[in-house]
């Protein structure tokens, strides 16, 4: 089954090549090909799911081939319970996005389809890559089509937004590259082999200072992507100017790269740095929650409002990741999925309105419910999902993150000194619950409720069949995520647990003094000069598999309370 990841990743690229060969006038055919390739990719990605067992240690469906042998770069893909759902989110959204831009993109359809498909390859590949160089390549591959999607099919200030987006992301990703190269050299110092492999880098122990610098580079790259306050200002511009499809992809998938990167790379690679600057990041994410919510409340443009709500929601995700226990991290990943669905769907809804009225300013709307009852129903569902209503997708993640944050000081991972103010964190994060309702319902009221006074809104069409087909799967997913989270948590939980155990193991092994070393490597071996990474991996089955401390090692209530 190892071919399935490769197939899923590169099928869209293949589709893009096919589209390039098609004549540009055949608009319908191009759209059809785009949609069917996206659908096919989705089907194949379901294939990943079918053979998936979250309990299995490590990554599944791994494929590990040499790519640039001289530099030790490998084509290494694999999926675990964390990336699985993000990949599925991506492949699920792409057909929806393709269908949603059916009429919205009338110009340069071929180029759009190609860009979207290339983007899809980048997004899927990035989630699956287990070689940091490969990851970086995919990470950058995503940037270019997105740049064009915003810059070519965007709104009035599209160039400004596109360039801001690209420059902002590039600043981070260049530092990321530098840090990756640094790790690459250090891995060579420690093992004698050149390798970008994730597994090697995870076992590489650096000194605290080195960890701090590398973590800073990683975290900056990913926090820009999240975006974490105060690095967020590219997001509203990009969202507002991007076409609906671009906004959806951006919000639903690209932002997830920030948090995915934090979870997959920044946290496990540099545990000591996390312990040191974690509180700062947590404070920023809390600031993001409150600040994003308040600023969202001041918006007049619907898309901008949703963009700022993303800042708030992703703040919750980052907070959850930093709390370093399975509840919070599960919740964070869950919130990523939920945000992907609810915010993506809200952007689709705004797209529906924009196609009819060519404006996104709230004061232009009002009382649309009577004209568009079906649309109103969908819009309401997604609004409430975004607010975090139980039964819809937003609640589960929020609850898990809050429960995890509140109990961060009492879990098996509590000896990482990050949780001095866990109760306060939880209380501040929970204000997002109130503020979320404030701005979302205010927006809903201004658009859908009240009197329909604007004559331009008197004759709006309700959803077309196509639009209904776009929004229905999103609504189904919103309910599914809310009503039966076990589907997702079942495979997610073991992977999260493994990640955290690896984190803790590396943390408790202590930082290196000066020379980099590998986790679980004894000195003699290095002097023999042949400790290839591969071997270590096999024998090194290390304590990573051991479960965390038995529950309630310290009886609750007597434990540390800040």
């Amino acid at each position: 089954m190892s071919w399935i990841l490769t197939l899923t990743t590169f099928l869209p690229l293949l589709g893009a090549l096919v589209c390039l060969l098609l004549p540009r006038e055949e608009v319908g055919l191009l759209r059809g090909v785009g949609l069917s390739v996206a659908l096919l990719t989705f089907l194949f990605s379901l294939g990943i799911l079918s053979g998936f067992n979250g309990q299995t240690a490590g990554f599944l469906h791994e494929v590990d081939l040499p790519w640039v042998q001289a530099l030790g770069i490998r084509y290494h893909l694999g999926v675990d319970g964390i990336s699985l759902w993000l990949v599925l989110l991506t492949t699920f959204l792409m057909p929806v996005v393709m269908l949603s831009s059916w009429s919205a993109i009338a110009d340069k359809v071929r180029e759009f389809t190609v860009a979207a498909l290339v983007l899809e390859t980048g997004m899927i590949g990035g989630f699956l890559a287990l070689d940091l160089f490969l990851f970086y390549v995919f990470f950058e591959v995503m940037l270019i089509p997105m740049y064009f999607i915003i810059g070519v099919w965007g709104g009035e200030r599209r160039l400004y937004a596109a360039i801001k987006f690209v420059l902002y992301t590039m600043v981070g990703s260049l530092l990321l590259l530098v840090a990756i190269l640094y790790l690459y050299v250090k891995v060579h110092q420690a093992t004698g082999t050149w390798s970008f492999a994730y597994a090697d880098m995870q076992r590489l122990v650096l000194s605290e200072r080195e960890q701090l610098y590398c973590f800073a580079a990683f975290a900056l790259a990913f926090c820009i992507k999240v975006p974490l306050f105060p690095l967020h200002t590219w997001l509203p511009d990009a969202h507002v100017e991007a076409p609906t499809a671009g906004s959806v992809i951006l919000a639903s998938v690209l932002l997830k790269y920030g948090t995915y990167g934090l979870l997959r790379f920044a946290l496990p690679l540099f545990p000591h740095a996390v312990a040191e600057v974690g509180p700062l990041l947590a404070a920023l994410s809390l600031a993001g929650i409150i600040y994003g919510s308040l600023v969202a409340y001041a918006q007049r443009d619907i898309k901008k409002l949703i963009a700022y709500s993303s800042v708030a929601h992703m703040g919750i995700v980052v907070l959850g990741l930093l709390m370093l226990n399975t509840k919070a991290v599960n919740g964070a990943i869950y919130q990523m999925l939920a945000h992907g669905i609810s915010t993506g769907a809200l952007f689709l809804c705004v797209g529906v309105l924009y196609e009819r009225r060519h404006t996104r300013r709230m004061e232009e709307f009002g009382g649309l419910w009577a004209q568009m009852p079906v649309f109103a129903g969908f819009f309401l569902i997604f609004t409430l999902a975004s607010v975090g209503l139980p039964g819809l997708c937003g609640f589960v993640g929020e609850f898990l993150v809050l429960a995890g944050t509140m109990s961060a000081g009492r879990t098996a991972f509590a000896d990482v000194p990050l949780f001095g103010k866990a109760h306060l964190y939880a209380a501040l994060a929970a204000t997002g619950v109130v503020l979320g309702a404030v701005y979302m319902l205010w927006m809903f009221q201004r658009v859908m409720l009240g009197p329909n006074e604007n004559p331009k809104n008197r004759k709006l069409r309700d959803l077309t069949l196509r639009e209904g087909m776009v929004l229905t799967p999103m609504a189904v997913m919103a309910f599914w995520l809310g009503l039966y989270p076990a589907t997702f948590l079942r495979d997610m939980n073991p992977a999260v647990h493994r990640t955290l155990v690896a984190f803790k193991e590396k943390y408790s092994a202590g930082a290196a003094d000066a020379e980099p070393r590998m986790l679980g490597q004894d000195k003699n071996k290095k002097e023999e000069g042949q400790p290839p990474a591969k071997q270590d991996k096999e024998e090194g089955q290390p304590p990573a598999q051991q479960p965390a401390q038995p529950p309630a090692a310290s009886p609750p209530g007597t434990g540390a309370t800040p």
Binding site: T233, V295, A403, M406, G409, A437, L449, P485, A486
Partner: protein
């Protein structure tokens, strides 16, 4: 012993009805919609009744029926030593049995009533869809076996309330009222959610049945020496103040009357708003922990709310608004009940109140239906003749709420008053600062309960007064509305009047299940039913005190009714108007609801808006984006602009650059090394002088010459050593000449230095 029962049917049936009505309702037609809505609720009611029957006959008194339908965890997360397992479990014990019966049967009556009331509304199917959705959520709330499941229902009813308050969405006022309700509730939910998470973080479970076994942990001090249970209880109570409209979160309920009247009856009187009382009773183990500060807060807030709302109710003019304040006030009574440890009394009042308050609202609906939607009671009057059924049923409700023997309200209110009088709070075992322990005990055990009792008694007096004021103004005297309205006055159709009559009957008899023991010693059947699940009040009152309290309460009610009769019988009397004139400041204060909305506007709403505005325009758009982000871009572009002058497209200028650059490179690579190297450093030891070329660093490929005495004769020629030593023969002052040369380029450089030898 827990027995199994398919409890999931109870909430699922109405939810199914909701799905059918919301998705297909428009095509079904009104008859089918009504059938689905009422049918699903009726089915749920029957299942619920059967379940309660099974519980009462088969299980142990303290046991519960559990649902085995949802086996797997709903939300879970494991592996970090504090595993979270939330199952979507339902549970029916004696407490939830009361709630389930009240919710389903009163809900059914109101559904039936609404089929008549909403008959001409274009949003018929939507209305019943929401109503069924509400029923489903409310049943999940009361049946949930853990806090998160309750929270699901809790939020669900909140949303339904939001949707139904803003049901007539075309008016901004309604939509705003709905939004206000939801947001204020969310403020409460903030507390609920935090309380839930805090509880979980301490004991690792959220199931009601398991909390009790962790009390040891929960009694541990958490902060400032207060036990964890106190904080959890208070946080949960914050949620309850939101849902049950208690001070300080009561402001949404009067506005919520913007919704259709059946909604006000079902959600904002009989069921949803009582959820807070239910949850306090449900989690009573947290409130019972010593010190009972959480209970004191609950009782205090309940009493304050009861009196505050009752006084406001006296002067309001809007029919439903009066009832809304009455609801807030009665909910305050219930909170006093659960707050003073008289849990059964609180729940008892919850049940009786559901009958008469639902009836009052439905009566109000019937009146407003007849009046064409008019809600101002000063425009009514003399409606008794036109609406006989409504009038007489309303008469019964008013008697019941005023607490006249032997109607329902009398018994339940009496139980609460007795509970308040008997309460003994315990705050501390030592004194606080200036207060000695005796004083604290005196306060919490004698003064505070009596204070609460007196607040309640005052509230009861006001209640009797404002309810009968309402009754007399609306139903007696002559009609004060327009002739057109008078012409259209008519009694409501049977689907509306029958529920009124049923509820009236309930308002009479519902209290008889809880006759106090002093009257009939096996009379408190209701208390006995709940005794296995809710602890009885700690203190028993002596019979004489209890009789006395009852008499006082009854007297107060009669005084209230009598004064209302004097002032308002046959319309608003001159005396009433004069009283309003004389007490004008007080009147205005009450009429404007103590200006609390205005206060919140100034203290919370406007600052929030201003802060949002400030953060957006000043911090975000200006500071972060303009100054920081675009500032960087601006710096880069300025740099680019500066450099642009070099790239002017004139090849000849470039050539100058090329030449100057080439010359510079040549100079640096050929002349500079000897110049640097020729700068030497001297160190002296007696007569021995050591010379280091170029500050000590030797340069590859350079050769050196040195003339130690400057006598024109090179002493060392073309040496490659950059450190040279010379021993002078005797004292004197010598001049050293040093030359560094690069033989590859033929460039050289010389330096001189004077040295003194002693």
């Amino acid at each position: 012993m827990d027995a199994s029962f398919p409890l999931h049917l109870i909430p699922l049936l109405p939810l199914l009805g909701a799905i059918i009505n919301l998705l297909l309702g428009r095509r079904l037609g009104k008859g089918a919609v009504a059938l689905v809505a009422c049918g699903s609720v009726a089915a749920a009611a029957l299942v619920a009744t059967r379940a309660v029957w099974v519980l009462g006959t088969e299980g142990l008194p303290s046991g519960a029926l559990v649902d085995r339908f949802f086996q797997a965890d709903w939300i879970f997360s494991s592996g970090d030593g504090l595993d979270l397992h939330v199952s979507a479990g339902l549970m029916l014990d004696r407490l939830s049995a009361v709630m389930v019966l009240v919710v389903t049967w009163i809900g059914l009556l109101i559904h039936i009533y609404a089929t008549g009331y909403m008959e001409h509304d274009p949003g018929y199917h939507r209305f019943f869809g929401y109503l069924n959705l509400f029923m489903g959520a409310m049943l999940i709330l009361v049946l949930g076996d853990s806090l998160p499941v309750t929270f699901v229902g809790w939020e669900g009813v909140g949303v339904c309330s939001y949707l139904l308050i803003g049901f007539w969405y075309a008016e901004d006022k309604n939509a705003t009222a709905g939004r206000k309700a939801f947001i204020v509730n969310r403020v409460g939910d903030f507390g609920f959610l935090l309380g839930m998470c805090l509880l979980f973080s301490l004991i690792g479970t959220l199931k009601y049945s398991e909390i009790g076994s962790h009390m040891q942990t929960l009694r541990q001090p958490l902060w400032l020496g207060w036990p964890a249970a106190c904080f959890i209880a208070l946080l949960i109570f914050v949620g309850c103040t939101g849902k049950s409209a208690q001070i300080p979160l009561h402001i949404w309920l009067p506005d919520a009357m913007a919704g259709p009247t059946p909604v006000s009856a079902l959600i904002h009187a009989a069921t949803m708003v009582t959820a807070g009382v239910y949850v306090v009773a449900r989690t009573h183990v947290l409130f019972d922990v010593f010190p009972t500060s959480a209970k004191m807060v609950v009782a205090g807030i309940g009493a304050a709310t009861a009196l505050m709302a009752a006084t406001v109710g006296i002067v309001q003019r809007d029919f439903k608004r009066i009832l809304a304040y009455s609801t807030v006030s009665q909910l305050g009574f219930m909170f006093v009940g659960v707050g003073t440890g008289a849990y059964a009394a609180g729940i008892f009042h919850l049940m009786t109140h559901a009958f008469f308050k639902a009836g009052l609202f439905l009566g109000a609906g019937s009146v407003m239906h007849a009046m064409g939607g008019e809600g101002d009671i000063t425009k009514m009057g003399g409606l008794g003749k036109h609406l006989p059924v409504t009038r007489w049923t309303f008469f019964i409700y008013c008697l019941a709420i005023a607490g006249i023997f032997p109607l329902a309200g009398f018994f339940s209110k009496d139980a609460i008053l007795a509970g308040a009088w008997a309460a003994r709070f315990q705050l501390a075992r030592q004194g606080f600062g200036p207060f000695s322990v005796e004083w604290v005990q005196h306060f919490t055990q004698d003064i505070y309960p009596k204070l609460i009792w007196s607040l309640l008694a005052a509230a009861a007096l006001c209640t009797a007064f404002y309810m009968w004021r309402l009754y007399f103004v609306v139903f007696t005297g002559r009609f004060r509305g327009t002739a057109d309205q008078e012409h259209h006055l008519h009694e409501s159709p049977p689907e509306m009047t029958v529920p009124l009559m049923v509820l009236a009957a309930g308002s009479v008899v519902a209290g008889w299940v809880g006759v106090p023991a002093v009257m009939y010693h096996e009379g408190d059947w209701f208390g006995a039913w709940l005794a296995p699940v809710l602890p009885p009040p700690a203190q028993e009152l002596s019979h004489s005190v209890e009789w006395g309290l009852m008499a006082v309460a009854l007297c107060l009610s009669v005084i209230g009714i009598a004064s209302a009769y004097l002032l308002y019988y046959g319309g608003i009397s001159e005396a009433a108007r004069r009283a309003a004139q004389i007490l004008r400041p007080l009147y205005l204060l009450l009429y404007n609801k103590y200006y609390i909305d205005e206060l919140y506007d100034v203290v919370f709403v406007r600052p929030l808006k201003r802060t949002a505005w400030f953060l957006w325009y000043v911090v975000d758009a200006f500071f972060i984006d303009k100054v920081l982000v675009q500032g960087w871009a601006w710096m880069v572009s300025m740099l680019g602009r500066a450099v642009r002058y070099l790239q002017n497209g004139e090849v000849q200028r470039y050539l100058v650059g090329v030449l100057v650059g080439t010359a510079g490179i040549l100079w640096v690579t050929t002349t500079l090394p000897p110049r640097r190297a020729a700068a030497f450093r001297l160190s002296q030891q007696g007569r021995r002088v050591t010379l280091e070329a170029g500050g000590g660093s030797s340069r590859v490929g350079l050769v050196y010459r040195v003339d130690w005495e400057s006598d024109g004769k090179w002493d060392e020629v073309d040496t490659r050593w950059s450190t040279l030593t010379h021993e002078y023969p005797g004292q004197g002052t010598y001049k050293i000449l040093f030359e560094a040369r690069d033989p590859r380029w033929g460039t050289s450089s010389t330096r001189r230095r004077v040295v003194h030898i002693e």
